[in-house]
Symmetry: C2
C-alpha cells in the first residue's frame, strides 16, 4: 500500500495550515475592501479551453486526460484563462466592469524544486471590461495593500509595459519580430543570469552583433527614467512607445496618490513570460536581504485580447496574482508568521467517566460563547491529561470534579501563571476572557 504524497505535492499539517489559512483570509479581506467579489470555477475544464494559451511549454505542463464520457479534460493551469471563459460564458449575468478575486489551487506538471510544487495556490484579483489607467492602478493598489496587510514592508513592485520593451528595441534598430522576441526572452533572464550571458544569448538567438547586443543590455539595465525614455521616443516619433510611457506615468501617479508610491518603480527590463499580456506588466520582489533571492511574489499585467478568444469580441482586462506559497515561505523566513496558531487555548479534562457529561455541558456553553475549547477524549490520570493539554498549547485547563458539579463551579488552572481559581460555571467564559483568551 502506497502511503505517500505524489512527487511535487504536499500535505499542509495544522502547524503550517493554520497560519497559511489566516494569510488567505487576510488576502481575501483586502481584495474585498478593494471591491473585488469572490468567484469559484471548476478544477477541471475542457482541455481545449486551456491549450494554446500558455505557450508550447505551458501546454506540456497541463495535466490532461480523457474522462468517463470520452471528453478531453485538463486540470486548470492558472486562474486567468478560466476567468476569461467565465466572462465569455456568463457575460449577461455579470456586472461589467467585473471585479473578481479567486483563491484556488492550480496544477502544473513542472519539475519539482525547492519551493516549487505541482499543486500550488494562486490568489488572483482581476478587473474585466475596463481599459483605463485607473483599472491598472486599482489592481496594483490591491496587491500592494495585500503586502502591507501581511506586514511585508520591504517589497518593490517593478512596473513595465509590453510596448516599452518593443519601443526600446526599435530605438536600437531591432525591428524584426523574431529578433525582438528573442531579445525579450533574453532580457527576461536578467534577474537570474549575469548581463554578459544575456548579451551572449541575444547575439546567438537574435542575431545581433556584439556591439548591438551590448547596447540593448545596457539600455534595459541603465535605469533610464520614464521621462528620459519619453523624450527619446518623442524624438524618434514612436507614438506607441510614447503612449506606453504615458500610461506608466499615469499609473505611477495614481498608485502614489493611493499611498503606495514608495513601493513601486518603473523597470524597463520586466518582460514576463506569458504570451497573452498586451499592456502593463509587473513583478513584485521582496527587498529584505533574507529573502531577496526568492523571485517574484506577486505579478501580472494587462491582457486585452485573451477574453476575446472566448467571447468573440474583445473585453479588456488587467489582473494581479499573489504567489501564496512563495509569499508564505517568505513570511516564515521573516518571522512574520509564527506561534502555534493551531493551538487550542482551553482544554477540558475529564476526571472520571461519569463526569464527562457535566464537563461537556460547560464546554458547550464556552464554545457557544465563542471560545475555542478542546475536550479530553481518553480520560485516565489527570497528570497525563495536563501533559496533553500542554502539548496542545493550551493556556487554561478546566477541571470539574463531583464537588464542582454539585457547586456549579469549575477549577481553572492558568498554565502560564501556574495559578488556579475556582469560579462559577456561569462566569467561566468571562473569567477566561479576562485571562486574555479570545
Amino acid at each position: 500500500m502506497q502511503v505517500q504524497t505524489l512527487k511535487g505535492f504536499r500535505d499542509y499539517l495544522p502547524a503550517d495550515m493554520a497560519p497559511r489559512q489566516r494569510m488567505i483570509r487576510s488576502i481575501e479581506a483586502v481584495f474585498e475592501r478593494h471591491g473585488f467579489a469572490p468567484l469559484q470555477t471548476p478544477a477541471l475544464e475542457y482541455a481545449e479551453t486551456l491549450t494554446g494559451k500558455y505557450g508550447d511549454e505551458g501546454d506540456k505542463l497541463l495535466y490532461r486526460f480523457t474522462d468517463h464520457g470520452e471528453r478531453q479534460v485538463a486540470l486548470r493551469y492558472d486562474l486567468t484563462v478560466p476567468l476569461a471563459r467565465v466572462v465569455a460564458q456568463h457575460r449577461g449575468a455579470l456586472q461589467i466592469p467585473f471585479r473578481r478575486y479567486q483563491v484556488a489551487p492550480v496544477w502544473r506538471a513542472d519539475k519539482p524544486q525547492r519551493g516549487r510544487y505541482r499543486e500550488f495556490v494562486q490568489c488572483d484579483a482581476d478587473i474585466c471590461g475596463a481599459d483605463s489607467a485607473v483599472a491598472d492602478a486599482e489592481v496594483l493598489v490591491a496587491g500592494l495593500a495585500v503586502l502591507r496587510e501581511l506586514g511585508v514592508a520591504a517589497a518593490q513592485l517593478h512596473l513595465n509595459h509590453r510596448e516599452v520593451l518593443f519601443g526600446v528595441l526599435r530605438l536600437h534598430g531591432v525591428d524584426a519580430a523574431g529578433a525582438q522576441l528573442a531579445c525579450i526572452r533574453a532580457i527576461d533572464k536578467l534577474d537570474k543570469m549575469p548581463p554578459a550571458a544575456v548579451q551572449a544569448e541575444i547575439e546567438a538567438q537574435a542575431g545581433l552583433d556584439a556591439g548591438g547586443a551590448a547596447a540593448v543590455v545596457q539600455a534595459f539595465t541603465a535605469g533610464t527614467t520614464v521621462a528620459d525614455w519619453s523624450a527619446r521616443a518623442a524624438v524618434a516619433g514612436d507614438a506607441a512607445f510614447v503612449a506606453a510611457l504615458d500610461r506608466i506615468q499615469v499609473v505611477l501617479d495614481l498608485c502614489n496618490a493611493a499611498g503606495h508610491g514608495g513601493a513601486i518603480v518603473f523597470d524597463a527590463a520586466i518582460a514576463r513570460g506569458l504570451d497573452y499580456y498586451t499592456g502593463i506588466i509587473y513583478e513584485t520582489r521582496l527587498t529584505d536581504a533574507k529573502v531577496a533571492g526568492m523571485g517574484a511574489v506577486m505579478s501580472g499585467g494587462r491582457y486585452d485580447n485573451l477574453i476575446g478568444l472566448f467571447a468573440g469580441s474583445a473585453v479588456p482586462a488587467v489582473g494581479i496574482s499573489v504567489g501564496l506559497d512563495r509569499l508564505f515561505a517568505a513570511l516564515q523566513e521573516l518571522e512574520l508568521v509564527g506561534g502555534n496558531e493551531a493551538a487550542v487555548p482551553v482544554y477540558a479534562t475529564v476526571m472520571a467517566p461519569e463526569l464527562a457529561a457535566p464537563t461537556l455541558r460547560l464546554v458547550g456553553e464556552l464554545r457557544r460563547a465563542g471560545l475555542r475549547v478542546e475536550m479530553e477524549l481518553g480520560g485516565g490520570k489527570l497528570g497525563k491529561q495536563f501533559e496533553r493539554a500542554s502539548k496542545r498549547g493550551a493556556r487554561a485547563v478546566l477541571v470539574i470534579g463531583s464537588d464542582e458539579v454539585a457547586a456549579g463551579t469549575v477549577v481553572v488552572k492558568d498554565l502560564r501563571a501556574g495559578s488556579q481559581a475556582t469560579v462559577a460555571q456561569a462566569d467561566a467564559a468571562s473569567y477566561l476572557r479576562d485571562l486574555g483568551i479570545t
Copy 2:
C-alpha cells in the same frame, strides 16, 4: 472554441459565491471552537491510495489517469481516505488524538442530477486516535453546532450503530453474512422506497420468506427504543448488540448534556453505504417541510479499521461530513442566506480624469480604515456612474470635484435615504460608519 463548463461542473459567480464563502467561514469557525485544526491534502493521490476503499461502485466513479511520470493517479473522492493516509504518513508529527477539519472539493464521475455535481465541496471534522464515546459525541456536537450557527433550527440527526443493524437481524434469525448485507442494503433504501418494495427486495436478495422479510422491515421501522432493544438483546444474550446499544445511549446522553439533545434521535434503520464504518453511523435530515425531501445534509460515523490499512496498526477514528452544496441549497430555500452579499457598500465616482488621483487617495484611506469601496473605472457622465453604483448595490456614493479637492472635503450621497452631505475627508470613514456601513 469550447466556451462552457464540463457536464456536472459549475461556476459559482459572486452572487452565489459570496454567501457560500461566508457559510464555509462559519463552518470553519465552529469546527475551530470545537478544537479542530485545519489540514489540507493534495487534490491528486496515487490511485492505489484510493481504490478499494469505496466499494466497486465508488472505484468506478474515481477520476483516474496516468500522469507525466507514468504514475497511476486519481482525484480525491472524499476527505476521509486522504486523512487516513496523512495519519499513517505523518503520525510522528501529529498530536494524537488528532482533531482536524478540512474543507475542500472532491470529484466523482457520477451521473449529474439536480443538486448533484461531479465536483462538490465537503466540510469534514474527524478525530483520529480516540475510541471513546466522548469522541463520538464530540463530532456530533460539532456538526450540530454547525447547523445551529447557520440558523438551521429544524434538523434531526438520526443516530445508529453498525452492530445494531446486525443485532436486529440476528434477533430475527438472519445469521448468514450475505443475507445480512443484502438486508442492510435494502433497509438503507427505506427513506427512498415504500416499505413493501424494501420487503420485496429482502425476499429477492436475502432469500427470506414473506413473513420473515415483513418482520425485518417492521423491526427497523417500528421506532423501538434503545431501552426496549437492550432488554431484548440481553434476553438473547447478544453481547455485541448490547454493547452497541449502550454506546448509543452514552453518546445520546453526552449530546444531551452539551445542549443538543433535541436535535438527535436513535434510528435503527440508518445503514450508510460506505464499507469502512465500524461503530456509530448517522445521517442528518432537515425537517422543515420546504426542504424535507432533500436527503442527508450531514453524515458520518466511526471507522476504526480504515487508518490501519495504511498505518499497519489500528487507529480508531470517527468523523462528520457536512454536505456543503446541499446545505447551501437548503439555506437558500429557507431564505437563511440572501441579500446581495457580493455588493460593495461604497462607490467612488470620478468626475474628471484629473480627479482620479485625489479620489483614489481618499478611497485608499477609507479602505485602510476597513471599508469596502469600489472605484469608478470608466469615468464619463455622473448619471451613468450613479447607475453603476446602484447596480453594484452601493449604499453610499462619493463625489469629489475640484472644489472638494481644494477644501479637503467629499460629497457623500446616501442612496437609500436620498440625502447628501459634504464632509471633511478626514471624517469620511466615521461618517460612513455612522450611516451603518461596516
